[in-house]
């Protein structure tokens, strides 16, 4: 929502751009002053040159889209499983009683702890990266979906009974729309988790992507390339969050009106 505000108020937008430029200026001053060796800290000038070179040659572009793919597929799988499983658990008392405790045991597991297990079963493959992303991104989505499905206003449950909605009608016309704000909040959390795990997965498995690029650049002391990769990751995080915000505003437009 604050995105729109910014564009509605050009002065604010201008101000935020100036602040960002200020940070880049400070970065340039620190880098040029020689306080930190330029082997480790390239100035913005060298970084942007490396970024442009990488984009022009298509190498960085390729890495960027590999990471986007990993992140998106992993996140998408997690969303599908999280929302459907959450819907089942959220609408069935049986499922809540029998399945919920096992889930509570799995939930606190850090996804990174499962990396060796995933490597053992799936090898250093794309599937392994997707598995790690999917596992980590599943929990916020699953838990928020369950919450959304179980928090239907009791009066609406009565209205559903009075109108004699079928179970399917209830799920799609009442429970799912009711859970949408929660689900979207879960999707936002998972998106962050998915980006983190995409980078971690690429670093560990050597699968093509920005994570692997950053790791390789760092090991070879190509710090401008390293920083270019970090900037792209930042941009990816920002862009995906913005897209999700637009999607959220569209889905929840009933909240914004009136």
């Amino acid at each position: 929502m604050y995105m729109l505000h910014r564009f509605e108020r050009p002065l604010w937008f201008l101000g935020s751009v100036l602040v960002a430029l200020g940070f880049i200026g400070i970065w340039q001053i620190v880098a040029s002053s020689g306080l930190v060796s330029n082997v480790f800290l390239p100035g913005p000038d060298r970084t942007f040159r490396a970024l442009l070179a990488g984009l022009e040659s298509g190498v960085l572009t390729g890495k960027f889209f590999s990471t986007v793919q990993h992140m998106f597929y992993g996140w998408f799988i997690a969303s599908l499983i999280g929302i459907s499983l959450g819907a089942i658990i959220g609408t069935s008392r049986m499922a809540q009683v029998y399945v919920a405790p096992s889930l509570e045991l799995l939930r606190p597991l850090p996804a990174s702890a499962l990396v060796p297990v995933a490597i053992a079963f799936l090898g250093l493959s794309t599937s392994m990266v997707l598995f790690i992303i999917g596992f980590g991104a599943l929990w916020p989505m699953l838990l928020s979906t369950i919450h959304g499905f179980t928090s239907v206003e009791p009066r609406l449950n009565e209205v559903s009974r009075i109108l004699r909605l079928t179970k399917m009608q209830y799920i799609f016309k009442i429970a799912l729309p009711n859970a949408m704000p929660d689900i979207l909040a879960g999707m936002r959390l998972s998106l962050t988790v998915a980006l983190i795990l995409a980078v971690v997965g690429e670093m560990l498995s050597g699968q093509d992507g920005l994570g692997q690029w950053i790791l390789a650049s760092g090991r070879m002391f190509r710090s401008p390339d390293l920083f270019a990769g970090v900037i792209l990751l930042g941009a990816l995080g920002y862009m995906s969050a913005t897209l999700l915000t637009w999607f959220e505003q569209w889905v929840l437009r009933w909240r914004n009106e009136g």
Partner: protein, 273 residues
């Protein structure tokens, strides 16, 4: 005692609304939650097309009676017959209007979509829905607001929307649970008159729970006064006031004042022993 004139007037009023045939009867109905007796041996007949108001102090179980009638609760003893058959759950031709319209409407659906829900539930084909929905919105004066969301409407309009959704069920019986209690006085009066109009046009049987004595007399053909702890039928009041009734002149009529007096004394007696 009502005069002969009033009696015959009431007869014609009732006749026009098709009284006589019993559509709902409570038969030795009791309900307890655990060891607590909520309703004790209720016997009550409701005639088809009747506008029945139920009043009583809080804790007398008037809402519980409505919920039993709606099929949302199951009696502990006795039964409710609806058109001769025991009520075993919600029915498509029995609609319920709740007091808390904010909670009873779907905030993510437009005015149009909220009415549509009742038709979707009844498996009405999509092609036929539009006209029906607009007709019902027209009836409650919301046709111009079809694309708005409930939060964009005033309280009175939201309650009208809920009424439209109930009417979309094409109900035989409309159960109303203190429907206008949360509205301001002006809106309440406007909705009372609209309800009076809708009742006579649709011919619905109406079971109207309220704690507002004047509202009960103004709207009802008959008023049932309940006694609390446990809930029982205390007294019945026939409302022999001609229709259509009018917010200005009806409350000035001697028979209105007389009934208001009787109801007030009844409630006072109940509440203060």
């Amino acid at each position: 005692m009502p005069s002969v004139d009033q009696a015959s007037e009431a007869m014609t009023a009732k006749g026009a609304r098709g009284h006589g045939e019993v559509i709902i009867s409570f038969e030795n109905l009791s309900l307890s939650f655990g060891s607590k007796l909520i309703l004790d041996n209720i016997n009550l007949d409701v005639a088809r097309g009747e506008f029945l108001c139920v009043i009583g102090p809080s804790g007398c179980g008037k809402t519980t009676m409505l919920r039993l009638l709606a099929g949302l609760l199951t009696p502990s003893a006795g039964q409710i017959l609806y058109q001769g058959l025991p009520v075993s759950g919600p029915r498509p031709d029995v609609a319920v209007l709740f007091q808390d319209y904010v909670k009873a409407l779907l905030p993510w659906r437009t005015v149009f979509g909220n009415v549509s829900l009742a038709l979707e539930a009844a498996q009405v084909p999509r092609k036929l829905r539009r006209d029906k929905i607009m007709a019902h919105l027209e009836l409650v004066g919301l046709a111009d607001h079809a694309e708005k969301y409930p939060t964009q409407l005033s309280g009175g309009m939201q309650q009208r929307l809920q009424i439209a959704r109930c009417l979309a069920q094409d109900p035989e019986v409309l159960l109303m649970d203190e429907p206008f209690g949360a509205l301001d006085a002006m809106t309440r009066q406007a909705l009372q008159d609209e309800m009076q109009e809708l009742a006579s046009v649709s011919g619905c049987t109406i079971f109207f729970v309220t704690h507002d004595l004047e509202e009960a007399v103004y709207l009802g053909d008959r008023v049932i006064g309940l006694l609390p702890h446990p809930g029982r039928v205390g007294r019945e009041f026939e409302v022999n006031i001609s229709r259509p009734r009018d917010q200005l002149t009806t409350p000035e009529k001697p028979e209105f004042l007389q009934l208001r007096h009787e109801l007030y004394s009844f409630i006072k007696l109940v509440e203060h022993g």
